[in-house]
């Protein structure tokens, strides 16, 4: 997947967890909890969805590495590169 495709998928999954969040309004540096106001249950739902869609099980210790779209794209792209 390209980084753009990863970004689109990540934002789409955020939208599914929180339908009021419009992906087109999300900035790359928006913090999932501080700016988008996702709570711990939302984050777990997002990680669960990413596991189902991409087959990437993100450990809890790595959650800080996906706490913004920009960081998540780099993290997930790195997983794809292996």
């Amino acid at each position: 997947m390209t980084e753009q495709e990863i970004r689109d998928l990540f934002l789409n999954e955020i939208h599914k967890v929180a339908p009021d969040i419009d992906p087109s309004d999300v900035l790359d540096d928006d913090h999932l909890q501080d700016d988008l106001e996702l709570d711990s249950m939302d984050i777990l739902s997002l990680v669960t969805a990413l596991d189902a869609r991409l087959g990437i099980s993100i450990p809890e210790a790595d959650y800080p590495q996906i706490d913004t779209p920009a960081k998540a794209v780099q993290y997930l792209a790195g997983k794809f590169r292996g």
Partner: protein
């Protein structure tokens, strides 16, 4: 012949608007079956039947606002099958419509329940869109506002607020004002070392896929249920000038809705559930709360509510009790704080628990006993 009436789904609910019938005349209904969806100030709620029988007549119409206690439908074992009511335009928001006493002409009834967010339901109702004709793009195919918007674009209109408050905010305000007016609150606080619990959960979750992980909040809910067993005075309802302790421990979980507002559905017999079951049911309740699919029984059976600030945020909160309950446990976000362990001071994860309780039914002694018991249970997470 049994009469199915509009239930009270909250302390200050006066009426609900029928959004959807999930039954039709001739259907066999069992106690506990979800039979209708009702829009309240706190969103759409699925309501269950308290009777078993065959639906003989649907009395309320789609869009009709029905006062609590008024007839919605009639059940019987051999009653003649009547036609369904004709869907009507939405009633005036504040109107308390009189229930119909005659059977209107037949009209289509949705065959099955449609998963949709409260905003989607409200908007579909306003624009006369049948939700069953839409394909949802939300979680598990739930219809979200965007799906309705795509079907019928919005026309400029006034925001859905009255006197500067949303309906949800008004519902929360009414319940909280009643609580503070009627309940002589007192509170007891205690700091508890939760580092061992968090480390235990981290280790437990490390080898599990995300779908099987357990959050700190679920462990606290389970521990609260177990602690309540030892303090009956906090577990139950205060109604008609008397406290009725409950035989069941049903923990209400305060869920913040993203559009603003709060709901507190309860887990049935939480103390008998495994930790994994508590977590799974909490996930399910949060998802359904946001999709507008909570059930009436979940909204009324809570015997004590837990309200948590989550894993990030402020250190302490003192909550307001949800009537008719008599206690609420507020949980601050865990903080790293100096902690005396033996003869040394060490940095530990500490969480502040504040119990708000009703002074009509208990005193500080019971509140203290509850928090001490909770601390003991949380120190042994392996036993949760």
């Amino acid at each position: 012949m049994a009469i199915f009436r509009m239930p009270s789904l909250g302390a200050d609910m006066e009426a609900g608007t029928l959004v959807e019938w999930l039954i039709k005349p001739g259907d066999e209904v069992h106690r506990g079956d979800v039979v209708a969806v009702v829009e309240t100030q706190k969103g759409a709620i699925e309501i269950e039947s308290f009777e078993t029988g065959v639906v003989s007549e649907l009395i309320a119409s789609i869009g009709q606002t029905v006062p609590v206690g008024e007839e919605l439908a009639r059940f019987g074992t051999d009653a003649p099958v009547a036609s369904a009511p004709t869907p009507e335009p939405p009633a005036e928001p504040a109107a308390m419509a009189e229930p119909k006493t005659t059977t209107p002409p037949a009209a289509p009834i949705p065959k099955t329940g449609t998963r949709a967010s409260p905003a989607a339901r409200r908007t579909a109702q306003e624009r006369g869109i049948d939700l069953s004709t839409l394909t949802g793009s939300g979680p598990d195919g739930a219809i979200v506002l965007a799906d309705v918007e795509a079907q019928a674009p919005a026309t400029p209109k006034a925001p859905s607020t009255i006197g500067g408050l949303s309906e949800m905010r008004k519902a929360v305000a009414a319940a909280m004002v009643r609580s503070k007016r009627e309940i002589p609150h007192f509170s007891v606080s205690h700091n508890i070392d939760t580092q061992h619990l968090s480390e235990w959960l981290s280790a437990r979750n490390a080898d599990r896929p995300p779908s099987e992980r357990v959050l700190l909040g679920a462990a606290i809910v389970k521990a609260t249920a177990l602690a309540l067993r030892s303090v009956n005075a906090l577990n139950g309802h205060f109604t008609e000038d008397a406290f009725l302790p409950s035989d069941e421990v049903n923990i209400g979980v305060a869920i913040a809705l993203r559009g603003g507002g709060l709901v507190a559905p309860a887990l049935h017999q939480t103390d008998t559930m495994t930790l994994d079951e508590v977590m799974a049911d909490m996930r399910d309740m949060v998802t359904r709360a946001r999709a507008g699919r909570l059930r009436g029984s979940e909204m009324t059976r809570g015997t004590l509510t837990v309200s948590s600030l989550g894993e990030k945020g402020a250190e302490a909160m003192t909550g307001v009790i949800f009537p008719p309950q008599v206690a609420l446990l507020a949980v601050g976000a865990p903080q790293i704080r100096p902690w005396v362990a033996g003869d040394t001071v060490v940095p530990r994860e500490v969480t502040r628990f504040t119990l708000s309780a009703d002074h009509r039914v208990c005193d500080g002694r019971q509140g203290s006993k509850f928090l001490m018991t909770l601390e003991d249970i949380l120190s042994k997470p392996e036993e949760l």
